[in-house]
């Protein structure tokens, strides 16, 4: 990093070309501090958030658990769980992956590392303040926006730094063509502050009246998924799948089409959470139509990923990154199609208000987004610390615990939610039966939580090992052998 004056760091200048591999190693190394800090804190909050989720899962089947402790009541644990995994884990993980991808795709070493490091510290401070706020009872009970009013400005400031940084990096980029991942990243980094600011202004600082809040709430909550987590997850998938198997994306045109149709349709989706609610019918109808139109970006993405992978599926055996990312990409297709069906009013009247929705949320945020983040980290971290992951078998354990855990969780919640929903819908059925149908599945969900946490603990152990003593050091800039894909251990599952 050569940063002589402030002006020269926010205004692009040209530099002579270097060898690709040397340049890439330099870029990777330049991202080390901020990216590892974001990853490390993200993993910490993932463990904390999952622990809170696990406790609340068990409390719902054992209501007497810790019931005299106000800060461990279900109504505080659940939002604390959601906000920790969403803003403590998923956002920093997305930022970390986003920073690294941005630097690589712009082909410039990361600028302003200190700004990013301070942003990471401030962000995590905001999380801590917000978490304490929820637990002491200052939560706002507005889904996805529970952090009290004194925590959100901290988060916003931290995030704004990242957005500004993205614009600076974009101006400095050396690559002429903007790769599709950059479209997604750049858009996501700018959409999020817009979403967050709008929602906070209209729901906290200048609260609008009554049900208008519901509309804004779900416009925000759904767009956080659709215009922030999804684009980052897809940016990673669009980069890592071709990169790992060494084959360009099947149809670049489809990928761009997917991007714009996502921006168009996803942004209208939110109101399908309030079908039948106190809103003008056209608002809900627009959301239902947009939800159905989500077929277009989802199918284009699914076809594109599948056609890219076609003939290379054996790569899943030897690449940990690919294994996690393909799992995530497949889940993206499944969760999006499921979401489309859930928005159809006839089905929505059964699944709405039940555990089915919780299953859908975990399919999206865990099976899709979190798995893609894990996969990306398996690729990125070795290139930052300069050494390989210490143990292949532990990576396999991590994968299988995560995969089995999340499939069990989503399966249990989906089935239980359907039975619960049918009981809630049936006029002849009592409320009690809706609880009784759901209970065994809720126990199963609690068990799946343990399995998922097991996987996370394995990953946390691997990550700490990487920070302390990375495995086999290599001197060449690329840390992986280019030809040796058929060594003995690579075939094992």
């Amino acid at each position: 990093m050569n940063s002589p004056s402030l002006l020269s760091t926010i205004n692009p200048a040209t530099e002579p070309d270097k060898l690709d591999s040397v340049e890439r190693a330099e870029i990777d190394a330049s991202t080390r501090g901020p990216v590892l800090l974001f990853f490390g804190t993200a993993i910490f909050w993932l463990l904390m958030g999952s622990l809170l989720g696990l406790i609340s899962a068990w409390k719902i089947t054992n209501p007497g658990l810790f019931d005299s402790i106000s800060w461990l009541t279900f109504g505080r644990l659940r939002p604390a769980h959601l906000n920790l995994v969403a803003y403590g884990w998923a956002v920093p993980a997305a930022i970390g992956v986003g920073l690294w991808l941005t630097a690589r795709l712009c082909r410039v070493p990361l600028l302003h590392a200190k700004l990013l490091i301070s942003s990471a510290i401030v962000w995590n401070l905001g999380i801590l303040v917000g978490l304490s706020g929820i637990l002491i009872g200052d939560g706002r009970s507005i889904e996805w926006l529970e952090f009290p009013a004194y925590a959100t400005p901290i988060l916003f400031i931290a995030y704004a730094c990242i957005s500004v940084w993205t614009i600076i990096m974009f101006r400095f980029r050396k690559s002429g063509h903007i790769y599709v991942s950059q479209w997604y990243l750049f858009a996501a980094f700018l959409w999020f502050p817009w979403l967050y600011a709008t929602a906070n202004i209209l729901l906290v600082w200048q609260p609008v009246q009554g049900p208008a809040q519901g509309a804004i709430n779900w416009w925000y909550a759904h767009n956080v998924l659709g215009l922030w987590f999804t684009p980052i997850g897809l940016a990673a998938a669009y980069y890592f799948i071709p990169k790992v198997i060494g084959r360009p994306i099947h149809s670049y045109y489809l990928s761009i089409l997917g991007f714009w149709s996502l921006a168009l349709f996803y942004s209208w989706n939110g109101m399908h959470h309030l079908i039948g609610g106190p809103f003008p019918a056209w608002m809900v109808s627009a959301s239902v139509v947009a939800s159905v139109m989500m077929f277009i970006p989802v199918i284009t993405t699914a076809i594109n990923h599948h056609m890219t992978m076609k003939g290379h599926f054996e790569a899943l055996n030897w690449s940990p990154t690919l294994r996690f990312i393909v799992f995530g990409a497949v889940s993206y297709t499944v969760v999006s199609l499921q979401g489309t069906f859930m928005a159809i009013p006839a089905l929505n009247s059964i699944t709405h208000f039940t555990d089915y929705t919780i299953g859908h949320a975990h399919l999206g945020l865990y099976a899709f987004f979190t798995m893609i983040m894990f996969g990306s980290m398996y690729y990125i971290v070795p290139r930052l610390v300069g050494g390989e992951w210490p143990c292949a078998n532990l990576i396999r354990w991590h994968f299988w615990l995560s995969a089995v855990g999340i499939i069990l969780m989503v399966g249990a919640l989906t089935l239980g939610g359907l039975l619960q929903g049918l009981a809630l819908y049936d006029v002849a059925s009592t409320f009690r039966s809706s609880i009784e149908f759901a209970t065994p599945f809720r126990v199963l969900r609690g068990i799946s939580g343990f399995i998922l946490m097991g996987g996370q603990l394995v990953f946390a152990y691997l990550f700490v090992q990487m920070l302390l003593k990375p495995g086999s050091q290599k001197k060449s800039p690329a840390h992986f052998d280019k030809s040796d894909n058929s060594s003995n251990d690579s075939v094992a599952i």
Partner: protein, 62 residues
């Protein structure tokens, strides 16, 4: 309430303005022409098409 509306209008003008500028720029600088070439832009001489770049760590490393 009025402050909220002013912020909304302000935000709308800025955001839609910048997004329109972004699209105009993208069109001018040729982001939408040669669209298929973009797919190859993540490969280079050292990590060319056809070479995988990730695998499980080999056993003897620890």
């Amino acid at each position: 309430m009025t402050a909220g509306i002013i912020l909304l209008v302000f935000g709308f003008v800025i955001l839609s303005g910048s997004a329109l500028l972004a699209i105009c720029w993208a069109a001018k600088s040729g982001q939408f022409s040669n669209i298929t070439e973009g797919a190859a832009s993540i490969f280079d001489q050292d990590e060319p098409v056809g070479v995988p770049t990730d695998r499980f760590p080999v056993k003897n490393s620890q």
